[in-house]
């Protein structure tokens, strides 16, 4: 993991280091299905995917893509930061063989008393640059010279508490 990032060093428009996964082959998809015990055949049984479900090929699991979306902000936040929220939509399919590039860009920042909140626009594009998973994350970052973000995370006052 990279050196700790501080809220003081973040500006709107700043881009996160890209995270690339793939090319994702049949074994990647099978390994993920096995790890989470998901036996949905469209991810590893090509004949079923194409002949029964009329798909172009084996599909990359949405549940795998959401791991990548979460990882890019987790790694960016560092050990002393915290990813509070991640949201996204699956707008397009990815098929086996795709290379996925996860991107993020700072949309806004808000300085609170104990830490700073950073809203990040993010998504996943394939090797052709086609967006398929647009989303947004809210990341809490420590101040330079300050304390790490409280752990377990304490949402800012006025938001739904972790009760």
């Amino acid at each position: 993991m990279a050196e700790q990032l501080y809220f003081d060093d973040v500006r709107p428009g700043q881009e996160l280091p890209r995270l690339t996964k793939g090319p994702l082959g049949e074994i990647h998809l099978f390994r993920w299905s096995a790890a989470m015990e998901n036996w949905h055949r469209i991810h590893y049984d090509r004949r079923f995917a194409q002949e029964q479900d009329k798909l172009p090929d084996l599909l990359v699991n949405g549940s795998l893509k959401q791991q990548f979306i979460t990882q890019i902000v987790k790694d960016w936040a560092g050990r002393d930061g915290w990813v509070w929220k991640v949201g996204f939509q699956f707008r397009a399919m990815n098929t086996v063989g795709d290379t996925l590039h996860v991107w993020g860009k700072v949309k806004s920042t808000e300085r609170l008393q104990d830490y700073g909140l950073v809203v990040v626009e993010l998504g996943i594009v394939n090797q052709d640059g086609k967006e398929n998973t647009p989303g947004q994350a809210t990341v809490a970052l420590p101040f330079r010279g300050g304390q790490p973000v409280p752990y377990p995370f304490v949402p800012p006052p006025g938001t739904q508490a972790a009760a």
């Binding site: 993991m1 996964k21 990647h28 390994r31 993920w32 096995a34 790890a35 989470m36 015990e37 998901n38 036996w39 949905h40 055949r41 469209i42 049984d45 079923f48 029964q52 479900d53 949405g62 549940s63 795998l64 959401q66 791991q67 990548f68 979460t70 990882q71 987790k74 050990r79 002393d80 915290w82 990813v83 509070w84 929220k85 991640v86 949201g87 996204f88 939509q89 699956f90 790490p148 752990y151 377990p152 995370f153 972790a162 009760a163």
Partner: protein, 172 residues
């Protein structure tokens, strides 16, 4: 109007909080981390600089979301469908009662939101409680549609909140 009083009555309907059949296991965490290609040292089965702040070895952020599995001693849908070429392999493991008045409508994935409070540590047990958080109707260019929001709440056996997920399904 697609939303009636009967549909609204599902808002707040929730399941019991059920524990995943297995605790957070080091081997399961390793397989998960390798499958998502995030070999973060915080996931190693020992306390180190990467996970000390979290109280020791932890699982990836979304690990709990995949912990609810079929327990031993329950019907095996894979074997039960061994001769069914149309079986798609989907094995439901946790669900809410379907919304009967909407059963004739198609279902589309409308997006997911996760809210994180802390990581699950190795050895912890995790419970899941589902509920219908909201059901609203919107007008779209293709006519009326219903947005059904299901909330998933994951807690430790000590009752600490790990993560909330809100999944939106579009029905039209």
């Amino acid at each position: 109007m697609l939303i009636t009083d009967e549909v609204r009555s599902y808002i707040g309907l929730s399941s019991e909080a059920d524990f995943a059949c297995d605790a957070v296991e080091a081997g399961a965490v390793r397989r998960f981390a390798q499958a998502i290609m995030d070999e973060d040292p915080a996931y190693l089965g020992e306390t180190n600089d990467a996970n000390r702040r979290f109280g020791g070895p932890v699982a990836p952020p979304l690990f709990a979301n995949h912990m609810v599995r079929r327990p031993l001693g329950t019907p095996d849908p894979v074997q039960n469908n061994a001769l069914n070429p149309l079986f798609d392999g989907i094995v439901p493991v946790a669900s809410l009662p379907g919304i009967k008045p909407l059963s004739h409508l198609a279902s589309l994935n409308g997006g997911s939101e996760f809210e994180f409070f802390r990581y699950a540590r190795h050895g912890e047990r995790v419970s899941l409680k589902l509920s219908y958080a909201d059901i609203t109707e919107k007008e779209s260019s293709k006519g009326p549609m219903v947005l059904v929001v299901r909330q998933y709440e994951f807690r430790t056996d000590g009752g600490e909140l790990l993560m909330r997920a809100r999944m939106t399904t579009i029905r039209r």
